[in-house]
């Protein structure tokens, strides 16, 4: 199949790019462009997970009458609170730090928002291919030709089943990569071209989220709460969010920097501990958890964004790391970079030059846009948190006063390299050793991962090869003594389990069909031997998330 513009990934960035292309087409006329959007989820938005508080600035430009068009906005933000938690108490910040002021923003379900955005795109007659994941980038030298979708109908032993269908090559003049945080194709581009050569390494966090139905009267719709501190240690990056979508529906989540040092730490247990805090337990008591999900997020900021243009290719949204970790927001930046990528692609095709030199206009547009004016001043803030919570907070404060000026650029490092080895003799003890921050699980307030996974709606065809590739088998040899098999803990979906052979040798079991596509393993594995590739269909079903 051949199109003019191929957009890989039907999230906020990809759909905004598609819509902007359609708008440019309508406004400027000329030979109509063929546009296609590939999305691995079976329905638009099914894999979209975020808090989420939406800064509507990009949306207002893309769809000025978004309210009339029925954009699904759960509530307008009317109150902000920021708390520092200790194990038993909470202290409210007397003033809300400016980046966390959300007046004028909206609480949304990103799943519903993306579904609505896809409807707007389809109304323009753009082909939205859901249920198709791009598996490989097609390249000729440094030029992007398009992508190849995955084969279907391969058994778990790698044989072709009667239902076998080979992947399809989709070629395009320009491919816009919007494959999200740690996108499998963008990762490949970074390695092959190399787009991140002179940039700081990307840094990530993982967010775990639940939707709760709670008795009314506890918190007003439109309330936004953020917490710092407990249950994380001072040197750990992270915190929690609670967004009241209505007075009965809470979006509740916990974000942990994927640069923690203790290999026996478990982000999911941190989330459980957070819910056991008296303040949170009181909020959720007699309520019911109705949905669960997890997703990594790019936190590194401006200095970690790779080169986003190449011969015949552009990168937008989370795939490029366009997220403001200080404001905890990325949807508007994903939308904005998608729109700018569309404009650059449109102009390049009209000028009949889709080389990197021509597509550099995308970077120029970013530099002249609110994306840069928002991200550049806070470019060192996340890196400052690498020195601990207090250093990070102090630096954020100074940053605000100086407009981001600092004598040197702070250097971050890839988070998995910060994981410490276990002291000799401590690792490889029991099978699936409990986390260092383990807490009780009552299946009412706190949950085991398997129960949580059920509430993510995750399902995959079972008879297919594992989509989590472990390139070098370290589990039976060095990982136990060195790190105590951290995969069983950092994965929020119980994908990784260590079993024992009869002679006691550890053996990795990959429950690939539990995978919620969060990408944490691809990021956090200390040996960097795990690669996430798209499975044949399936994945989470984030209704309302």
């Amino acid at each position: 199949m051949e199109v003019d513009v191929l957009i890989v990934g039907g999230g906020p960035a990809g759909l905004s790019a598609a819509l902007r292309l359609a708008q440019l087409q309508t406004a400027q006329g000329g030979e109509p462009l063929s546009i296609a959007v590939l999305e691995k989820a079976r329905e638009a938005g099914a894999h979209s997970l975020s808090g989420a508080v939406l800064d509507p600035s990009a949306l207002r430009e893309l769809i000025p009458d978004f309210r009339e068009r029925g954009a699904p906005i759960a509530a307008d933000v009317h109150a902000d609170h920021v708390y520092f938690l200790t194990e038993h108490a909470k202290f409210e910040f007397p003033i809300i730090p400016p980046p966390l002021r959300n007046h004028g923003n909206h609480i949304i379900s990103l799943n519903q928002f993306v579904r609505w955005l896809a409807e707007q795109v389809e109304a323009h007659g753009i082909d939205f291919f859901s249920g198709f994941a791009a598996q490989d980038v097609l390249m000729e030298g440094t030029r992007i030709l398009g992508v190849r979708t995955g084969d279907r109908g391969i058994s778990r032993h790698g044989e072709q089943k009667p239902t076998f269908e080979p992947g399809v090559d989709i070629t395009a003049k320009i491919t816009i990569f919007c494959d999200g945080v740690r996108g499998n194709l963008t990762k490949e581009l970074l390695r092959r071209l190399p787009l991140g050569a002179d940039r700081a390494p990307q840094q990530f966090a993982v967010g775990l989220k639940e939707l709760w139905d709670i008795p009314p009267g506890r918190v007003a719709a439109g309330t936004v709460i953020h917490t710092l501190g407990y249950p994380l240690a001072e040197e750990q990056f992270g915190g929690a969010f609670i967004y009241a979508m209505s007075d009965r529906h809470l979006s509740l989540g916990f974000v942990v920097g994927l640069d923690y040092s203790d290999p026996q730490f478990d982000p999911h247990m941190a989330f459980n501990r957070f819910k056991q805090h008296p303040f949170i337990a009181a909020l959720l008591g007699d309520g019911q958890m109705v949905r669960y999900g997890a997703k990594a997020l790019p936190e590194g900021g401006w200095n970690t964004i790779p080169r986003t243009y190449m011969d015949g290719g552009l990168i937008a949204g989370d795939a490029g790391g366009f997220l403001n970790s200080m404001r905890l927001k990325g949807i508007h930046l994903a939308m904005r970079t998608g729109m700018l990528a569309a404009e650059a692609a449109f102009d390049a095709i009209r000028a009949n030059d889709t080389s990197a030199a021509s597509l550099k206009r995308y970077q120029d547009k970013i530099d002249a846009s609110p994306v840069r004016s928002e991200l550049y001043p806070v470019r060192n803030v996340h890196q400052a948190f690498g020195h601990g919570l207090w250093a990070g907070l102090a630096f954020s404060g100074v940053s605000l006063l100086t407009g981001g000026w600092w004598p040197v650029e702070l250097q971050g490092e890839a988070g998995h390299t910060r994981m410490h080895r276990l002291p000799p003799g401590r690792g490889s003890g029991a099978v699936n050793e409990p986390a260092s921050n383990a807490t009780s699980v009552d299946r009412r307030l706190t949950f085991d991962k398997l129960t949580n996974v059920h509430y993510s709606g995750t399902a995959h065809e079972e008879d297919q090869p594992s989509h989590l590739l472990v390139h070098t088998e370290v589990c039976s040899t060095i990982c136990g003594p060195e790190y105590g098999h951290p995969c069983v803990r950092f994965c929020p979906a119980n994908v990784y389990e260590i079993m024992r052979e009869a002679d006691g040798t550890p053996r990795l079991q990959i429950n690939a069909s539990n995978c919620v596509h969060c990408k944490t393993c691809d990021i956090m594995d200390p040996y960097a031997v795990i690669t996430w590739v798209p499975p044949e269909g399936g994945g989470p079903q984030y209704n309302g998330m």
Partner: protein, 322 residues
Amino acid sequence: MILVVAEQREGRLNRATWEAIAAAQALSAEGVPVQVVVLGGTVATTAQEIAAAGVGDVIAVEHVSLATYTPDAFTTAMRQVVDKIAPTFVLLPHTYQTRDFAPMLAARMRKSLVTDVTGINGNGAAATFIRPMFQGKLAAEVRPQGEPPFLVSVQIGAYRADAVRKGNAAAVTSMSVVIDASAIRQQPDAPFQEARQAVDLSQADRIVSVGRGIKSQDNIAIAKNLATAMGAEIAASRPICDNGWLPMERQIGSSGQTVAPKLYVALGISGAIQHLVGMKGSRTIVAINKDADAPIFEVADYGIVGDLFEVVPAIVNELEKG
């Protein structure tokens, strides 16, 4: 009038047909008759089998194009049957075959289709139907809109085959249908070997299911002994099939089969929610597990907290005595 669509293959009636008949009896108001239609190449035996139970008149629809199932032929035939009989409701067992052609039939006729129904409230025109949403997390109560007939498929195990009220043997009438063989777009191959061997656990009356507590592949024999002694099918929770200790087609749960046998014996199964959704409709659940806090005991009718390696051989012993 309520029309039930029986399902047969090569003269063997699918047990789920009786469950659909039981649902039809629950749905039918006083004095509203139930009729059963059975389609195929030759259906005399299955039609007689149903007629003998006396649940209502049986309509036999035989046509050479119906000998092998194709969605086009069945849709064409069923449309003619429904047009002629003009029932208020058409009930189908929610089998793979129904899932294949019923949506097309409903779309052709522009009628409502309510799928995977687990319960019926009220009867006649006022009836509402319960069906699962979000993988069974929620149940929705729905009422079909528009003009009758309304199509309804009934979840396997939701109604009990042995609850069918039987009466005096009924009549079999045959009805002819016109099927243009050239308009059938599908040309089915012979069934795959996989499919021929596959066990349909939803048809089993008794199931012995094993979980991680069985510890090793060799110990599966212990569970198989119990299954043999009970006349039960063997099944498993996910880790067992992942390990290849039992074939994947014997997996129960959200990524395997959903079953509702009369008796379900869970050996060494902790009861993760993914497993429970696949078996919680079983009439009687017996759980044997060492861990008294295992969630399986929350759904079990009878629980034995103990070592399955001691308990199971003891049960087998007793059964063999009898």
